[in-house]
């Protein structure tokens, strides 16, 4: 019997956590990695949104905005789709946002038109996502956007033979294609190209292959999370760094929370990315202060929180433009071409692709006052999504 009561009690406590809905509440469903190995980034979604709400209030006009969180856990398209369905049908959300992984975002996309719900992608970085529905906007980045500058850096730093190692899924394949196309157009050679399964934990054999290929630089992408640390460690431990092979990556591989774990040997790793926590601007200072007020630890802040912060800005704008009515076309029209200064720098929403146009920075891992950070060396202004840009 005690089991029974225990269960009933547990469920009762659990349901009590859901706050009761108020009248004229506009709900926004956030699907993110709230538990498991990628939990840090789901929590960053929440911190970013909380920071925005703390600054701008929880109301737009007379409309109360409520954020409802769901846990996508891992790349699990079937689960994400049914979570989105639940948010739309049961919670009656007007907007869906978040989405850490590309497969999950792709699974949700087909629901949007039937449900008339706009989706704000706050991370998933495959170019093609925004093409899957006219109701998708993205405030994060794409692989093409961050990788094309990386290939230019490789050329500028006189790399001749580059080995590419990417995670074997949508964004990884995008990164590979973007780097290859840009670098070869500039006259470089790709000597090795490895696609690593997403669940790889032992990178030793891959390092050996790269070593054997005689490359003088590695370009890599893995989704930000535990595996990136393993990759960088394997790069150092297998002696590639010591033998002078340079490591160039997108910023996903050297997110700030991982830097202390990589340690001193990580100094000098180059990356191209749209946001460094150390970015020097008044907007970023205020943002970081707001984040801390919202409960985030300074060392836990990543790019996901900025994407969420800006995503919340778009949601508020959409609610304002539609006056709380369910009108996805009007909502989308309101944010197309929108320009503002984000904590990451000046940004705008490209009216054609509905993807964010932003500066991409070349950074280097350095140690300053005993703390590791990504120091910005060079700025590539107002980069579009090169994967979608018609050129």
């Amino acid at each position: 019997m005690s089991l029974r009561f225990g269960l009933v009690g547990a469920v009762a406590i659990a349901t009590a956590w859901i706050s009761p809905a108020q009248c004229d509440t506009i709900k926004v469903g956030i699907i993110g990695t709230m538990s498991g190995p990628y939990a840090l980034f789901g929590q960053n979604f929440k911190y970013g949104i909380d920071a925005w709400v703390a600054k701008h209030g929880s109301k737009v006009g007379d409309h109360q905005i409520e954020f409802v969180y769901r846990d996508e856990e891992s790349p699990n398209p079937a689960k994400s789709k049914s979570l989105a369905q639940e948010l739309i049908v049961k919670e009656k959300v007007q907007y869906i946002a978040g989405l850490y992984f590309t497969p999950d975002a792709l699974a949700v996309a087909p629901l949007l038109e039937e449900a008339k719900v706009p989706m704000i992608v706050m991370n998933a970085a495959t170019s093609a996502i925004v093409e899957k529905s006219p109701y998708i906007v993205r405030t994060s980045f794409t692989m093409w956007q961050n990788t094309v500058p990386a290939a230019k850096v490789a050329k500028a730093r006189a790399a001749k033979k580059v080995a590419i190692a990417v995670s074997d899924y949508g964004p990884g394949i995008d990164a590979e294609a973007a780097f290859k196309k840009t670098f070869e157009a500039d006259g470089g050679t790709i000597v090795q190209s490895v696609r690593m399964p997403l669940n790889t934990t032992d990178f030793g054999p891959i390092m050996q292959r790269i070593k054997d290929s005689g490359a003088d630089m590695i370009f890599t992408f893995l989704p930000a999370g535990p595996p990136t640390l393993g990759f960088v460690k394997a790069y150092i431990d297998n002696g590639l760094k010591a033998s002078g092979v340079k490591l160039l990556s997108t910023g996903d591989v050297v997110t700030e929370p991982d830097l202390p774990n990589i340690g001193d040997s990580g100094e000098g790793i180059l990356s191209t990315y749209h946001y460094a926590v150390s970015h020097d601007s008044p907007e970023n200072k205020t943002f970081l202060a707001d984040m801390v007020k919202a409960g985030a630890k300074p060392d836990d802040i990543t790019m996901a929180s900025v994407a969420a912060y800006d995503g919340a800005r778009l949601i508020y704008k959409m609610v304002e433009a539609t006056n709380g009515q369910k009108d996805p076309d009007k909502a989308l029209a309101a944010v197309k071409g929108m320009k503002w200064v984000s904590p990451r720098g000046p940004v705008s929403i490209d009216p054609d692709t509905r993807h964010i146009r932003q500066n991409v920075y070349l950074r280097e891992v350095v140690k300053q006052d005993g703390k590791f950070l990504n120091k910005e060396l060079q700025t590539f202004d107002a980069q579009p999504d090169w994967g979608l840009a018609k050129n």
Partner: protein, 334 residues
């Protein structure tokens, strides 16, 4: 009637409706209950039914034959992928897809049965994991067939009987799934209480003895694996039809392990146990993860510990216990 001999160790009621009728009534009642209590959660309930079929399928080999396996999701996932590909190739009739799933599952079941049941104990467990991992690795590599980590998406089955569409609200999917579950459950009740099913249980209890009375152990186990494959395959097919996406998670180790956890929770060796276990586990998980997406895993862990402590033979034994107590109370009455 052999039917009533082995009803989960419970004492058989003296005058009772045939087991199959009861099963029909109970699954229909559960289905209607789900529909009325949670009309907005049909997508979830549909997914629940699909997983329930996997747990039932696992029960057939683990609960009834004593085969230890941690790779059962291979059957489920492969059939989901086959159904997905069939649908993408233009065969979109849901009933046809279900049949495709059942056949794919049967083939997978027979093949893994041939391998896994050759061994016993730990080697068997390891082999089952190996088969599962092999399939998972293949699913990742053959991305032209499976979509790799991006998942196989764009599966849109046609209308059921040409009338009812599988839409976002999931009514068609739900009713369809309940009907499928009911049919499968009744057929399985028949099978596990048939001479063949009873022989499987005898093999589980003492395979040497079964051999002594002339039973051919290996072919029986493989056959049961095939039956289990059909059930798991139908589950996988429902998953593909209803969600329209098949991801690597559907062949993954975690899916196999979770199915085993649900089975143990409900009570292995009883179809009712499999049913109860998967319903309780998934409903609990669903509500806790919605209420607190950040720390829900802790609560699920607490539930499992509680069940293992208080009802080590599964929730179904708890039901038997309560029924027994109620019966003795009734008897004591003058």
């Amino acid at each position: 009637m052999t039917d009533r001999i082995m009803v989960d160790g419970m004492s058989a009621p003296r005058f009772s409706v045939p087991l199959e009728l009861r099963a029909v009534a109970i699954t229909l009642a559960l289905g209607a209950l789900g529909y009325t209590l949670f009309p907005d959660d049909l997508a979830f309930l549909t997914r629940l039914i699909s997983i329930t079929l996997l747990v039932l399928s696992l029960d057939l080999v683990t609960g009834y034959c004593g085969v230890a396996t941690l790779g059962h999701a291979a059957i489920y996932g492969v059939s989901a992928y086959v159904v997905g590909n069939a649908c993408l190739a233009g065969h979109s009739d849901p009933l046809l897809l279900l049949l495709v799933g059942a056949v794919a599952g049967a083939v997978m079941g027979l093949v893994s049965g041939l391998l896994v049941t050759r061994f016993k104990g730990l080697p068997q467990l390891v082999l089952s994991i190996a088969v599962g991992q092999l399939i998972a690795a293949l699913a990742n590599k053959l991305s032209s067939l499976t979509g790799g980590s991006d998942g196989l998406s764009g599966i849109s089955p046609g209308r059921l009987f040409g009338v009812y569409a599988f839409d976002m609200y999931g009514r068609t999917g739900y009713v369809f799934s309940v009907a499928v579950l009911m049919v499968v459950f009744v057929v399985l009740l028949r099978i596990v209480h048939s001479p063949f099913g009873l022989l499987c249980q005898a093999i589980k209890d003492d395979s040497l003895r079964a051999r002594m009375i002339g039973a051919r152990v290996y072919p029986r186990l493989v056959l049961m694996y095939g039956v289990s494959g059909v059930v798991g395959g139908i589950g996988g097919a429902l998953n593909a039809i209803n969600t329209g996406v098949v991801g690597l998670d559907s062949v993954g180790f975690e899916r196999s392990a979770e199915a085993l956890v649900m089975l143990v929770l409900g009570g292995a060796g009883s179809l009712w146990g499999a049913l109860i276990g998967s319903i309780v586990f998934q409903v609990f998980e669903h509500y806790v993860s919605a209420a607190n997406p950040f720390h829900w895993m802790t609560m699920v862990g607490a539930l499992l510990i509680a069940v293992v402590l208080f009802a080590p033979k599964g929730l179904v034994s708890l039901g038997g216990l309560l029924a027994g107590r109620a019966a003795s109370l009734l008897r004591r009455r003058p």
